[in-house]
Symmetry: C2
Subunit: 178 residues, 2 copies
C-alpha cells in the first residue's frame, strides 16, 4: 500500500516523533495513557514488578508497534514501559488516529491489516512458548531476533523466556558448547 | 456500533453458518486454508503434535474469533483445529471480507477495533502466562473461564496451562483443599 504525497504530509504534520533516553519510563504500572508507540530506532521493554522483582515480558525494536492495553480496554496499565536504549518513537493516540482515518480511509485498512498480522504473530509466539522448553525458546530467540541478545541485558532476557537468570547462563553455556 | 437492516441482510445472505461435530478436524497441521472462524456455540481447540503428543494451546468458545495464522501469513498451518464439542460457527474468508468492507466500510472499522482488542487481550494473556506459576494459571482460569474446566478434558487443559496432566491433577487437589 503506497502513500500519496498528501497522505505523507498529513502524517508528518502531526508532530509525532519523540526522542527518548535509555531507562526513561514511558508508562507506569497503574497509570492510564492514550499513547501508542511505533519504534523507529532503539528498543522499548514491557515489564511487570512481581514480589519486588522486574519480570520482562516484551521487547520492541525497529518497526515494532507497542499499543498499551490501557489504550484499548481503558484499565490501569498492568505493566511498565521503559527504554532499553536511547530510542526514537512515533507516539500516536486514538483521537489522532480517528482524524487520520476519516481523512484517509486507507489508513484504517492499513491498521486493520497490521493488527491482524500482529495478532497472528502474537498467537504463534504464545503457542510456541507453551510447547517449547526454555532451551528451545532461547534457540528460537537466537535464530529469529539474535540482535536482542546483544542489546538487552541478560537478566531482562531471562524472564522473557521464562527462566531465572542463573538458568539462562546455564542454557547459554550448553548452547555455546554444541 | 449498530447494524442497519441492509447490513444485517448482507451478512445473512452470505451463507456462512456451519454446524460441526465434536472431534471434527477443521484444519490440519501443514495445510493452508482461507477460512476464519467465529464461534456462535460450542468450543474449538488449537493444538500442536509434539513428539507424537497433542499439546493444546487455545480454546475458543461462544463469541470468540479464531483466525488461523495461515490465512494471514500464507504459511502452512503450524497447528490443528478441532472441535471439543458439537459447535455452530461462522466461517469467513478474506475475499468475502473484502466484498463486505467495500460495500459497508463500517465493517472494516469494526474488524480493526476487534483485532486491536484481541491483540491486547492476547498480549496480556501471554504476559501473565510468563509471570505466573502453573498454579496461578489454573486459579486464573478458574476465575475467568470456569466453564472451560467443565467442558474441556483435563489432559487437554494441562498443556494449555503449561503442565503435564499429573501436575494438573495435583494442582486441582491442592486448590480444592484450600
Amino acid at each position: 500500500m503506497e502513500l500519496t504525497e498528501s497522505e505523507k504530509r498529513a502524517i508528518l504534520s502531526l508532530d509525532i516523533f519523540r526522542s527518548v533516553k535509555k531507562k526513561d519510563v514511558l508508562l507506569e504500572q497503574g497509570e492510564k495513557s492514550s499513547n501508542g508507540f511505533f519504534v523507529l530506532k532503539g528498543c522499548l521493554r514491557t515489564y511487570y514488578v512481581v514480589d519486588g522483582e522486574e519480570r520482562s515480558t516484551g521487547f520492541y525494536t525497529e518497526m515494532d508497534v507497542l499499543t498499551p492495553h490501557c489504550l484499548i480496554d481503558n484499565n490501569p496499565s498492568e505493566y511498565y514501559i521503559d527504554c532499553v536504549e536511547d530510542s526514537i518513537v512515533v507516539v500516536s493516540n486514538p483521537e489522532m488516529e480517528e482524524k487520520i482515518f476519516q481523512e484517509f480511509p486507507k489508513f484504517e485498512s492499513l491498521c486493520r491489516i497490521l493488527s491482524e498480522q500482529l495478532l497472528t504473530k502474537e498467537q504463534l509466539d504464545f503457542n510456541k512458548f507453551k510447547i517449547s522448553s526454555p532451551e528451545q525458546r532461547y534457540a528460537s530467540l537466537l535464530a529469529k531476533r539474535p540482535y536482542l541478545l546483544q542489546r538487552v541485558p541478560q537478566h531482562q532476557l531471562a524472564s522473557y523466556i521464562g527462566v531465572k537468570p542463573q538458568s539462562l547462563s546455564r542454557i547459554r553455556r550448553r548452547i555455546a558448547k554444541n
